[in-house]
Amino acid sequence: MIDPAAPEFWPQLFAVLLEGTWETLYMTAIAMAITFIVGLPLGIVLVGTEPGRFLQAPLGQRWLGRAINAVLGFVVNLGRSVPFIVLMIALIPFTRWLLGSFIGTGPAIVPLTLVAIPFFVRVVEIAVREVDAGLFEAAESLGASRWLIVRRVLLPQAWPAIALGTATTVTSIINFSAMVGVVGGGGLGNVALTYGMQRYSALHIVFVVIILFVIVQVVQWLLTRLARRLSGATPAASRAARRTERAALDLDDASIVTAPAPREPARGDTDSPTR
């Protein structure tokens, strides 16, 4: 039991919280950075290798596209279905092989990264899937290479959703980081565990909750702003867009009629002939 009335209580509390916050930010930042670098291309490849997509036949081989897609989809689902605590323990030999040790804040980044990657791959997958197929078609019609299509069409269009998904991913990494005390990792979760639970200090828990809340809020706020920027909806641009729309209605120059003509299916003409 810790006595809050003791003179050394508050300085100790702040020292402990500061260290915990630093460790949490450190683990989360590195895990997120690696997750981003690995997950982004994997997500793009996962969607791209679907039949009919721009990577359906890498190196001109359709079977290769199908194989990559199947393996990737399987691994991602596997990763997502293993509980973090189990994953963490199961990864101990791997972490030891990789870093020489499995105990501590640094090694804890390994399971955190590996749990975040499948999550983030799904985030990227959804973002990429949302990109209008017409844009890919237009880019292909211009004779653009795959790499150029990814850089100039896919990524610009997917960034806003990826930014929002990154916020969610960061939040869940912070979440999982609370558990790494099991393998001797530090962080705010560990503070709550050792001081709050084992030594019955409610104040420690309260502060941990507040700090975690603030971190999540700030991350969410920053990335939401970033997403808005990336979608091209700067305040000036959206005001201008509204102006144009109003002017268009006033001048009866509204070029998009309210009931557009029935669109031919982009691929296939599969609807039955109307005559």
Partner: protein, 336 residues
Amino acid sequence: MITIDHVSRRFGDGPDAVVALDDVSIEVKRGEIFGVVGQSGAGKSTLLRTVNALERPDSGTVTVDGTVITGLEGAALRQARHKIGMVFQHFNLVGNRTVSQNVEFALEAVGVKGDERRRRALEMLDLVGLGHRANDRPAQLSGGQRQRVGIARALASEPDVLLSDEATSALDPETTRQILDLIKRLSGELGLTVLLITHEMDVVKRICDSAALMERGRVVEQGRLAELITTPGSRVAAELFPVGEPHRIPGHSIVDITYADLSADRPVIAQLARDFEIDLSILGAAIENVAGVQAGRTRLAVPDASTTQVLTALRAQGITAWEVQAPDVQAQEVTA
């Protein structure tokens, strides 16, 4: 310039298979504007996409300017696509990139770099009258303006061929006219060959030199418009000159006469009535500006006894005239 040779394409297998293209052959000559018309589901979209290999036919070949497109893959295909521009019904512009970035993308695909790329993109935008909107985003433009950007993008790599996939179908009539006139002007200035698909006859009427009518994956009629409009029984011409459904009139035959390049100043019909002392009723008439010439069609009811005489007299004057079979009343009810 574009030769589509016995192209077939089916989607799906077994009894559910849809035959989108059924042995289609089309020849588009250099510098002409060729329109493919048909209902949705007729296969015209699939047809257009075989020309730049967005769609691969099951059989048959597509040749553009001597290059067999259907045989190309990878880099060679991309190279060929640089010479074939395409515009889309829904414009397909990248929303969070500026207008000029959208056009520059086409030049990037060709490998043009830096200032040169920027300069040429602006040049293209000037050409379509949007130089002053270069730094706006597509959302800030009207539909007509967006399609102009689409055209600028399609033409940035200086292609020889422009494919248009219902480019004006999402636009209002006035904007449609402006976009069509722009396409026509650019095709003249840049020596483009244009292949367009549409379900609107007005598009064909306004800018096409030739047309093909598609139905259920087959081309049922094709040719130069000037010839089609004087071809008896032409479906394209019937759509161009809406004179109504023929109705059976007891004791009368129905005769259609078509004059390309309006010789209609001459009082042909009044003359006939006087010469043969018969009563001619006009059942319908249409005058249209087709392929740049004033052309017209009149539907007459001629007494049975004089039909042959009238047809001979008209043909003697160089006017295309033929008898139209009115469907039976019963048959009409069935189709209605």
